[in-house]
Amino acid sequence: MSAFRLSTILCLFAVLLAPAKADVLPSWLRFWKGGSAAKPAKIEPKRVSIGAFAGGTGTSAKQALVAELTTTREFQITEEKPDFIITGSSVGGRITGKVANAAGKELLDRTYAAPGLDENAKALADDVILTITGKPGLATSRIVFVSDKSGAKQVYLSDPDGKEVLQVTHHSHGAVSPTLNADGTAVAYTSYSSGFPVVQWMDLSQGWERTVTDTPGSSFGAAFSPDGQRLALVMSFLGNPEVFVTDLTTSTAACISDTTGAPSSPAWHPDGKQVIFADDRGDGPRLYVAEVPATNQTEAQLLRWRTGYSFCTDPEFSPDGHSVAFTARISGELAVVVKGWPNGPAKVIQAGGASHPSWSPNGRSLCYAQHGNLYVHSLSSGLRRLVLEKHGQISEPRWMK
């Protein structure tokens, strides 16, 4: 009899607690699960050998490639028992590179004919990294940022080493809040050239500019979607600022936030279906996640994402979609924080005024601004590198995805 009663209670208990609530309950209540997913085992770096490069500029091409691959620390460059073999040739600055695996199967065969040898070597290094690791290399990636070096705030473009810096905008009264699309060919920003904040985008290969929003009020905080076809941005023509998603091909916009507060800094999930943004509904900016409605659908979910901090802005999803980096204010100072998505521990990456984090394309580093300088912070080693200093007051860096 008592066994029967016990089983009844047990069933009741199971029905009340266990089913379907696993995703809703906070992580500290999920005592039956035993922690999050298992940590990935430490992977030995791949062994790569680089053979001699034929042709007139072959020696310097090999040198440049070895230097590039050594700094990335993606592989162990060795002649002993290589997993992959790189061979190639170079004539007059053009580079042809080939990658084969240990069995001799060719994985990459490509010729790079950009004007500079170093540029070609960087492009080859990135393709080698992508071929072997499946994650993009950083040598040809770009960081976009704002600096007041020339007086007004303008948008600049830089490589991740801070060696080549290019001024993108020359607008009267300045341009701010830049974003790069996934392949780094277009940049969108807020321009003050008309005296009012207006979002424009520029095709970097052809150099033309187009106005995205010419709406009354302010528009700012543009972010390219992963496919580059849409922009998430904040516009205020409705009578209060709201987050919109606008389609660049059809120039239509849909409101995805439902707020009477002050929303800012939207950013896309890599699947292109969710947008995360900060929203101040009267008690400091918190993070919210909105679904982007499909074209024939108007209903979309909007939910608050609890981070444990009362002041959070500038959120950005990691390229794998498993983490979010954001700016938090901790005891009066801005700090860069990374937290697992949708659940996971929060970790302060850099305190003391660091702000506006942005993920590297391979998801292993963050760039951010601190005291007007630009830093790249490696998440695996915890070491950071000063990329750019004494370049005016640097703010709002964003790495292309």
Binding site: L17, G217, F237, N240, L334
Partner: protein, 156 residues
């Protein structure tokens, strides 16, 4: 058996409490922002001049805000009263521009300054000024003055 039973006695109220939380109504917010009843969309910006081009005069002393608040206080409404009283004579057009001091995250500063300007606009509309005569803009700290103010510029 005897060691299992006390655990269930402890766990059952917890389970019931969790179940009850599902049906809890949304609690009213204390001290939060009062949501406006009607929000008026902005009209066209044609003909409005930007303070960045110069030659615009503030119509009243700049409204000071504190910290990251964007709701209007009695002091703000008092400062706006003469402007509201005089408006019906000449029906001038106003550009309401929000600013913030540096140190805030840039995009949040823009949104906050715009939201403050919209709060001022909402009060002016509720006090009888026609919505078409009011435009807002939020500069954050991208342009001077870089302080916690909303400036109301009279259009020429």
């Amino acid at each position: 058996m005897s060691s299992v039973l006390p655990r269930f006695i402890l766990a059952l109220p917890l389970a019931l409490l969790l179940g009850a939380c599902e049906h809890m109504p949304k609690l009213p917010k204390f001290g939060g922002e009062q949501e406006p009843n009607v929000v008026f969309a902005l009209g066209t910006r044609d003909g409005f001049k930007s303070p960045l081009e110069g030659a615009l005069k503030p119509a009243c002393p700049a409204l000071q805000f504190e910290n990251e608040g964007y709701s209007l206080t009695g002091a703000h409404k008092k400062a706006l009263a003469p402007l509201i009283a005089d408006w019906s004579k000449a029906k001038p057009r106003y550009l309401i521009a929000g600013h913030t001091p540096p140190g805030l995250p840039e995009d949040f500063a823009r949104s906050l300054s715009e939201r403050r300007a919209q709060a001022v606009r909402q009060h002016l509309i509720e006090s009888g000024i026609e919505a078409a005569n009011l435009q807002t803009v939020g500069y954050g700290y991208d342009t001077p003055p870089t302080s916690n103010v909303v400036v109301i510029y009279q259009q020429l």
